[in-house]
């Protein structure tokens, strides 16, 4: 990962110096282990802070609409700034989705694609240390990770064991859309059982499913970090906060939490790239992937397609086939 980081810093510095981009969005270190911060470089000197490692969990595409849209109340002629962004596989697929949804103009962006071996799920790693707080995380040779807690407890683990769910089943290690790429492409690994967790959950009896669904959503504090971290959530007014009609109450009643999470997952149909940014953003460690992946699984099995894979592939819910399945329907 570190040679990619060096090349990235050098290239971004050049792009900024040449004026090819006005600003470049990437990742920088954060003050919390296994986390990165969103970093906006405006000068060659800013580019020095850019990092590329296994903690770059945010989906940077989520920040693009705000930057590339005419600010409300702006008078006179407005041209979007030239924005550069570093894009791993899932981020580039989200960018493709946003371009198709006319949220961001392709020509205002300069995309540096990077090959990505997968990002760490901070919650999953911290849980290995029990209640003590993760104080230090060190990446070791051979894709190993050493974790140390406040009370001195130490654990060493394979990176693969603590990756985000989406990364463990990733089918797009390399950017699908880029102006240039850094790092040699990582070949797809086809033998992974995709949607394994969804299958396992679906096979559990209905009472058990209902019980764990309630447990997961009951932890929600309606902070909307999942929504704000997701590039698909660019609505100006979200159904969860609408007042006319008021779909759900402004409460943490279980029923309102359920409607929010079912509604949010449903809006991901045919658009979620399983980047795990929502899972990483949730302060309560909710397994949001439980719902997202179910919708992704159904979209894949019922309508095929590969989310965000190409600019000219129409979105599954924006089209239909006469032969679409009707097995779910009720006959008298």
């Amino acid at each position: 990962m570190s040679e990619i980081q060096e090349q990235l810093r050098r290239r971004v510095a050049e792009l900024l110096r040449e004026g090819t981009v006005d600003l470049f969005i990437g990742y920088a270190d954060a003050s919390v282990p296994l986390k990165s911060s969103v970093h906006v470089a405006r000068s060659a000197q800013d580019a020095e802070a850019l990092v590329w490692n296994a903690c770059c969990t945010s989906n940077l595409a989520a920040l693009l609409p705000d930057l590339l849209k005419r600010p409300s109340g702006f008078r006179g002629e407005w041209t979007p700034p030239r924005v550069g962004v570093v894009a791993k596989g899932c981020v580039s697929r989200s960018i493709v989705g946003l371009i198709k949804a006319h949220q961001i103009p392709r020509d205002a962006m300069y995309i540096i694609g990077v090959s990505c071996g997968g990002m760490v799920d901070r919650h999953r790693a911290s849980r290995l240390l029990g209640p003590a707080e993760l104080v230090e995380a060190e990446f070791l040779k051979g894709d190993r990770l050493r974790l140390r807690a406040t009370n001195g407890l130490e654990r060493e683990v394979d990176l693969a064991e603590v990756l985000l769910g989406g990364c463990r089943e990733c089918g797009h290690h390399n950017a699908v859309l880029a102006d240039e790429s850094i790092g040699d492409p990582i070949p797809p690994d086809d033998d992974i059982a995709r949607f394994a967790d969804v299958q396992a959950f679906a096979e559990r009896p209905i009472e058990e499913r209902w019980q764990s669904f309630q447990e997961e959503v009951s932890r929600c504090i309606r902070c909307y970090a999942c929504r704000e971290a997701c590039p698909n959530c660019y609505c100006t007014e979200c159904f969860a906060q609408e007042t006319a009609p008021q779909w759900i109450g402004v409460t943490t009643d279980l029923s309102d939490l359920m409607l929010f999470h079912i509604g949010r997952a449903f809006h991901q149909a045919g658009r979620c790239v399983d980047c795990g940014a929502c899972v990483a953003a949730c302060p309560q460690g909710i397994d949001l992937r439980l719902l997202n992946q179910k919708v992704n699984h159904d979209v894949k099995s019922l309508f095929g397609g590969d989310v965000g894979a190409s600019l000219d592939e129409p979105e599954p819910l924006m089209r239909f086939e006469m032969t679409d399945d009707e097995g779910f329907m009720t006959e008298p």
Partner: protein
């Protein structure tokens, strides 16, 4: 101190399932109307909400109905090819398939939510469909999941 604001009966004697039906104006609503006009009896458990097209049905309507305590939800539109707006039902079919599967996945009993196509000429078929839905819901008893109970004065 939580009190139910609506008279949601328990399974005891006299409990009748309450169903809400979203019917598309051009076919299913007309089919239901035809059933009535031709004096075909079907029980009064259903409350019909007319929508311009099955494509108009926002999946949140379904979960909102379940949240309000409805025991069953029926969504019905024109048969593929009959849609007054050509493709409203065809787009909707994909949404319905995903919603039915997602609701069952999280643990809502599949017998709660039904999707069907009923044309304007199928009065009898509509009545049979409705009877079937009511019996299926009667079997699994009153709704208990995802209901929003709002605390109020008794």
């Amino acid at each position: 101190m939580t009190d139910l604001t609506k008279g949601r009966g328990e399974r005891g004697a006299g409990w009748e399932p309450r169903i809400v039906a979203f019917l598309c104006n051009w076919c299913s609503y007309a089919g239901a109307d035809l059933a009535g006009v031709s004096r075909i009896q079907y029980p009064p458990n259903v409350r019909v909400i007319r929508v311009p097209c099955s494509g108009r049905i926002n999946p949140l309507f379904i979960v909102k109905a379940l949240q309000s305590g409805m025991d069953g939800v029926l969504v019905s539109g024109c048969h593929p090819g009959d849609c007054h707006y050509i493709s409203g039902n065809l787009y909707a079919r994909r949404k319905f398939a995903l919603m039915k599967s997602l609701l069952e996945y999280v643990g809502i009993e599949p017998e709660r939510v039904h999707f069907a196509w009923v044309s304007a000429a199928e009065g009898i078929r509509f009545a049979e469909l409705l009877l079937g839905v009511i019996e299926t819901v009667r079997e699994i008893g009153p709704a208990t999941r995802m209901i929003k109970e709002i605390e109020t004065v008794r």
